[in-house]
Amino acid sequence: MHILSVRHAFEADHSSSTYEFFALDKLTPEQRAAVQELTGESPRRHLRFHHGGDWDLSPDLTDRLLTLGYDVMVSESYDWWSVYLSLPHDPSLAERLQQYECESDANGFDLRVVGERMILYFGMQLDYSAVYNAFGEDVFEGLADLFEAAREELLAGDLSVVWATYKTYGGYEEGGPKPVEPLSKSGEKLLSIVQIY
């Protein structure tokens, strides 16, 4: 079940869409060549796509970059924020994470396995005054730093950021997943900046 293409024939306003990819390690020459081929962009550790109007980056391109050495992707479009994390596929961690999958008005958390990687998606809306206090003016860099730390925690088995997302957008259901306590610093910080409109 797929959307095959999204075309914007006229734009509704003068807003914009931005997608930023961050690689935690240096890209290898092979990865650099593949990124150049894929995007036509100079392959840097921080790759940015910005477009006037509501503009979707192809999910295929997102997946390919997240399996080509980029570990974190932060995007914003019309005040909807998304963060993707790329982790090595670990079946037991995947099973623990999947119980927190949730969706509410396009916000929430889910996980997909692409090749040898797990792609984790966090969709959220932000309380900008809390964000300013937490990150200053650069929300992209702030979120990238936050989720870089969260990625390390996840690899160490701490699911705090996933629980923080579930707590905000997953609702409370009888028999729902177990809360993560105590929350890590990343989990606390995420909980303080996300909101439901």
């Binding site: 075309r7 006037g52 109007g53």
Partner: protein, 455 residues
């Protein structure tokens, strides 16, 4: 967990590959596969949010963010009887896809069941005489009347045509323009307008807003381009102060190229965010003046390379669009990314067509020659809406066989190009330069240097 429903502003249309969905308020067109189309059919009535892990669970947030799904209480009234109209049919508890009642076929995946956009040259009359104008003057027959245009809009609405691109000539010379635009809007077709701007007044703008025009594009022909003079900047100011969405069409000639960065900067400073770059194209009917104009103004490989560099430096600041004859400038892009953005190169006769002032239907505004031209020598006209229903003309596509034949591959330098399926060169340029619709575009900067039409 709430329920979702297709937003009121969404139109659906089944196609051989699945279907199309069009969001009228945002101007977004989605192509979806058959399974996703059946899901959209389901959402004509309130549908509960799927559980995580279900195949639709990933689709719902995307569709909601793009404005195609809305919480059920904000969307259309339940059970409004639109299912059959939208090519949806529930059978044995499963949604099935069928042609909409007034489109006789589902298309074949290459050619759509109906145009996404019809280009309506509503009049051939114009108050300017731009040297590179493509409008053929051979239609001596009277223009379509208001009643005939209303009848056409009715047919397009029944076929689920999504948008109307109204131009001319100068469309504001047509007294019933606002009435036709308003009627299209009433029938859920989004009307857009292209004008030279010289006749815009505050009253005209109010009437365009009233008629529901979505986007107004101002044609700008460059220095000395047909006597627009200062009227263009005055028109631009008025448009930007209006509630309308505004774009600028820039016909880029070699003479305009050196000043293009400065012009883009000026447009951006004035508040323009949408600029469409047009490539000079050969005259549909080779007149002496038209041939001379094209020879002097065509963009050659070096010009196109320069244009690409300028566009690269502005991408992200301005929303720069190119016409289908310039998709080759995207030749460095990933074909999958182009496909995702719905870029199909020259769509003449397959996804769009032009209706001329007296009712002739041709694949586009440039493949429009009279008898004696075209692959069969019978011209490119499929017929006239005064004699034959539009749906039948579209389905038959008389004389358009070569444009619609999925087995014909681009030749020459375009053969083997990695973006050939998303570009394939410009049909009208290939035909003019090399005598064949699918010859290579020898000026394309993506070619190896020295490549020719057929080598």
């Amino acid at each position: 967990m709430g329920t979702w429903q297709l937003a009121e502003a969404v139109a659906l249309r089944p196609e051989a590959f699945g279907g199309l969905a069009f969001q009228r308020e945002r101007g977004i067109t989605l192509e979806v596969d058959a399974e996703a189309y059946r899901f959209l059919c389901t959402c004509l009535e309130p549908c509960p949010l799927p559980p995580p892990g279900h195949p639709t669970a990933r689709l719902v947030p995307q569709l909601a963010r793009l404005g195609f799904l809305a919480p059920a209480e904000d969307a259309r009234k339940a059970g409004d009887g639109r299912k059959a109209e939208d090519g949806c049919k529930a059978e044995d508890g499963r949604e099935q896809v069928q042609p909409v009642p007034h489109a006789p076929w589902l298309g074949d995946g290459v050619t759509l069941s109906a145009p996404e956009t019809v280009h309506l040259a509503i009049t051939a009359r114009c108050n300017l005489s731009c040297p590179g104008c493509y409008v053929p003057r051979f239609d001596a027959a009277p223009e379509l009347t208001t009643a005939e245009l209303h009848g056409l809009v009715d047919q397009w609405a029944q076929m689920h045509v999504f948008q109307l691109a109204v131009g001319g000539g100068e469309p504001l010379l047509r007294e019933d323009l606002f009435d036709v635009l308003a009627y299209a809007r009433e029938r859920d077709i989004v009307p857009n307008l292209t004008t030279n701007g010289t006749l815009l007044t505050p009253d005209v703008l109010r009437r365009l807003e009233w008629a529901g025009a979505a986007r107004v594009n101002l044609s700008w022909n460059g220095p000395g381009g047909g006597g627009q003079g200062r009227a263009v900047t005055r028109a631009l100011r008025m448009l930007l102060d209006s509630a309308l969405q505004v774009g600028v069409n820039l016909l880029v000639t070699p003479a305009l190229l050196p000043g293009l960065p400065r012009l883009l900067a000026r447009l951006h400073a004035r508040g323009v965010r949408q600029v469409t770059i047009l490539r000079p194209k050969p005259p549909a009917i080779p007149s002496e003046a038209g041939v001379a104009w094209y020879a002097a103004n065509r963009l050659r490989r070096a010009d196109l390379l320069r244009l690409r560099a300028i566009m690269d430096s502005w991408q992200g600041v301005l929303a720069l669009e190119v016409d289908s004859a310039l998709v080759g400038l995207m030749g460095q892009a990933d074909p999958a990314a182009l496909r995702w953005r719905g870029i199909h190169g020259c769509a003449a006769g397959r996804r769009m067509c032009t209706v001329w002032p007296a009712g002739r239907v041709t694949p586009c505004s440039f493949l429009a020659g009279p008898a004696g031209s075209g692959p069969s020598g019978r011209g490119f006209s499929a017929g006239n809406v005064r004699q034959v229903e539009f749906a039948e003309l579209w389905a038959r596509g008389q004389n358009w066989g070569a444009l619609r034949d999925p087995t014909i591959q681009p030749q020459g330098g375009c053969a083997g190009c990695k973006v050939a399926s998303q570009c394939g060169g410009a049909r009208c340029v290939a035909r003019y330069e090399c005598g064949a619709l699918f010859a290579g575009d020898a000026e394309c900067p993506h070619f190896e240097k020295g490549a020719t039409c057929a080598s």
